[in-house]
């Protein structure tokens, strides 16, 4: 994982649940803040320990390549989750990439705004890969419409600053049509500001993650849509795949997995999908999650 964040704690829950179900020893690590060097440091410590398998969400897809290669050389199977590192030689990628999810968010924004209006993006980092990809996807989706991104606000993963910035932005752009929230706390921060400013009707919000506060605002109709990436599933499946690789061998496991062809190369990708949660489908979403056995805190 990348930093202390509810998203990753959902991944952890999935990891733990799978570990328990399969009777394997799982370990889950996130650094306090996104820091590529710190992640590599941890990765090396795991390789040194000769664990049976590693599932990693690279803070940066290229930076980890040499270290993933080292692990593979030592016979430790490596898969990626959440963020892919296609050139590292990892066996499988599990997740929805953030670009795709961001693109989905952009598409939905386009629908909500009817193709025009001013949007402000709130994020916690200008450098973290997940944020960059989500924003890039979002931008690409709205390209060619009359939707205009008037500002990107970086709060440096400080929820309080996120609120202050959202307030400033709301004030600076009286004709603001929508906020896009990249990190889990961005959506609720924007929702709080919009609600307190009594502009719920005017300013729409599309954001990421399905933390309880976000779902609360979705229910109230302050947040129009949020992207759920099923982090629990990612965690659960990662452990399962690694377990299989250990039990029945890497090749046998891969044979069970869906094969895709990217740029003429064969690859293994498990797409965990994006859930778009809106006020309309909130109840269905909750039911669906329950059916899949994914715990929802609400």
């Amino acid at each position: 994982g990348k930093s202390v964040h509810p998203y990753w704690s959902q991944v952890e829950e999935g990891v733990k649940a799978a570990g328990k179900a399969l009777g394997v020893n799982t370990r889950f690590f996130v650094p306090q803040k996104e820091d590529v060097n710190a992640q590599i440091q941890m990765l090396e410590a795991f390789i040194a320990q000769k664990v049976d398998g590693i599932a990693i969400a690279p803070s940066d897809p290229t930076a980890v390549i040499p270290y993933v290669k080292k692990a593979l050389q030592q016979g430790i199977p490596v898969i990626t989750l959440d963020t892919d590192s296609p050139n590292s030689g990892r066996y499988v990628y599990i997740g929805t990439d953030n670009y795709a999810a961001g693109y989905r968010a952009g598409t939905i924004m386009k629908e909500i705004l009817g193709g025009k209006g001013k949007v402000v993006i709130g994020t916690g980092s200008l450098t973290a890969m997940n944020s960059l990809q989500r924003i890039q996807g979002f931008k690409d989706a709205i390209a060619g419409t009359n939707i205009q991104i008037v500002d990107i606000l970086n709060d440096e993963e400080d929820g309080s600053r996120a609120v202050a910035l959202a307030e400033s932005a709301l004030n600076a752009h009286p004709d603001l049509a929508a906020f896009f929230g990249v990190y889990a706390y961005n959506g609720p921060s924007q929702a709080l500001v919009v609600k307190n400013a009594k502009k719920v009707e005017k300013v729409k919000i599309v954001c990421f993650d399905t933390t309880p506060d976000i779902l609360g605002y979705v229910k109230e109709g302050v947040i129009q849509a949020t992207m759920g990436q099923r982090p629990y599933m990612m965690g659960y499946l990662s452990v399962t795949v690694l377990y299989l690789m250990k039990k029945i061998g890497v090749q046998n496991t891969l044979a069970l997995l869906p094969k895709v062809t990217v740029d003429g190369k064969e690859d293994y990708i498990i797409d965990t999908g994006v859930d778009v949660v809106t006020p309309q489908n909130l109840n269905d979403y909750l039911k669906e999650m329950e059916r899949l056995g994914i715990p929802i805190r609400f």
């Binding site: 998203y7 306090q32 200008l126 440096e156 929820g159 309080s160 202050a164 609720p188 709080l192 506060d213």
Partner: protein
């Protein structure tokens, strides 16, 4: 004997910087002056200002003391108060418990610094890391939501159109400025910071004076933690990153010397005002976020440098 007094209004430099920035922003974007924006700005100033007051006490107390813990303490106390409220503890009791806790953390810092002679940098860096860690341990990254409305009013309500946090800042400023300039404690604090040994020889209980300074800083961090939690409607483990640096910078911008022995509460508030104003103005002036940090850094350096040059010229 003539009443020759050396200094004029010491906080003039930073005040000018603040006013110039504000006027400049207001001209370029008149929406700066909307009530909504001024309230938002006020709440931000309250957050940094309260922390800066705490730092001022600690820094004046001398011996190179600074407090690196406030940012993390804001996160931890915010999470803790939310947790208490979720357990159904009464709002005011929760607030009191948190204030008592943060006062205790301040006393802990003071104890290590004065009795065990551990550098303030280390013991408060320890708390910075530990508090941040505990905030993560308690929440696993999840915000604690669903706090009672009475509590949220602390961070979100206004009184006479002025946000409650600003009232809290005003009252705290008045009290602490009074303490620092008009009471025996204030003079003892400055004497301890100026020359610890001479203060001891003069019968000043230097250790107690310093411990109290750390307690003030701890208490205010807890207070800010409560305000921030109320403002965000939730206990969030990720808030407050780098606030200690902003608070210390506010203090220094306001004319407090890191060497100890002197400092100004009003100056610290103005310093906090400058930094908060920058956060606000850069959005209003539509400066690309990529440049925000660059501009903030440049303004801080320029403001302090000009102030120092101005004082040097004035004393010539």
């Amino acid at each position: 004997m003539k009443k020759w007094k050396p200094k004029g209004f010491r906080e003039l430099g930073p005040l000018l910087a603040f006013v110039i920035l504000a006027v400049f922003t207001a001209i370029l974007n008149p929406r700066f002056l909307t009530l909504f924006n001024l309230q938002s700005l006020g709440r931000q100033i309250a957050i940094f200002g309260l922390l800066a007051i705490g730092e001022t006490f600690v820094i004046i107390s001398g011996g190179g003391a600074i407090d690196l813990s406030p940012g993390s303490m804001v996160a931890l106390t915010g999470v803790m108060v939310a947790w208490l409220l979720k357990q159904g503890v009464d709002v005011w009791l929760s607030v009191l418990l948190i204030l008592a806790f943060s006062l205790g953390v301040g006393a802990w810092h003071g104890f290590f610094v004065t009795k065990l002679k551990v550098p303030a940098f280390i013991i408060t860096l320890g708390t910075m890391t530990i508090a941040r860690g505990f905030a993560a341990v308690i929440t696993k990254g999840w915000p604690i939501i669903g706090l009672p409305n009475t509590f949220l009013r602390i961070g979100q309500a206004d009184f006479l159109k002025i946000p409650i946090p600003v009232w809290i800042l005003l009252v705290t400023t008045l009290i602490s400025d009074f303490f620092l300039r008009k009471t025996v404690y204030g003079k003892h604090l400055r004497a301890s910071g100026g020359n610890e040994i001479a203060a001891r020889f003069s019968g000043v209980n230097v250790d107690r004076v310093r411990i109290i300074a750390f307690m003030v800083s701890g208490l205010l961090a807890g207070l800010v933690g409560i305000i921030v939690a109320a403002r965000l409607s939730q206990g969030q483990p990720g808030v407050g990153g780098m606030y200690e640096l902003y608070a210390i910078a506010s203090t220094v911008i306001g004319g407090t010397s890191l060497g100890g022995g002197e400092g100004s509460i009003i100056g610290a508030i103005i310093g906090a005002g400058i930094i908060s104003l920058l956060w606000n103005a850069l959005v209003l002036l539509n400066v690309s976020t990529y440049w925000h940090n660059v501009v903030i850094g440049v303004v801080i350096v320029v403001a302090v440098t000009l102030d120092i040059l101005r004082k040097r010229l004035a004393s010539k």
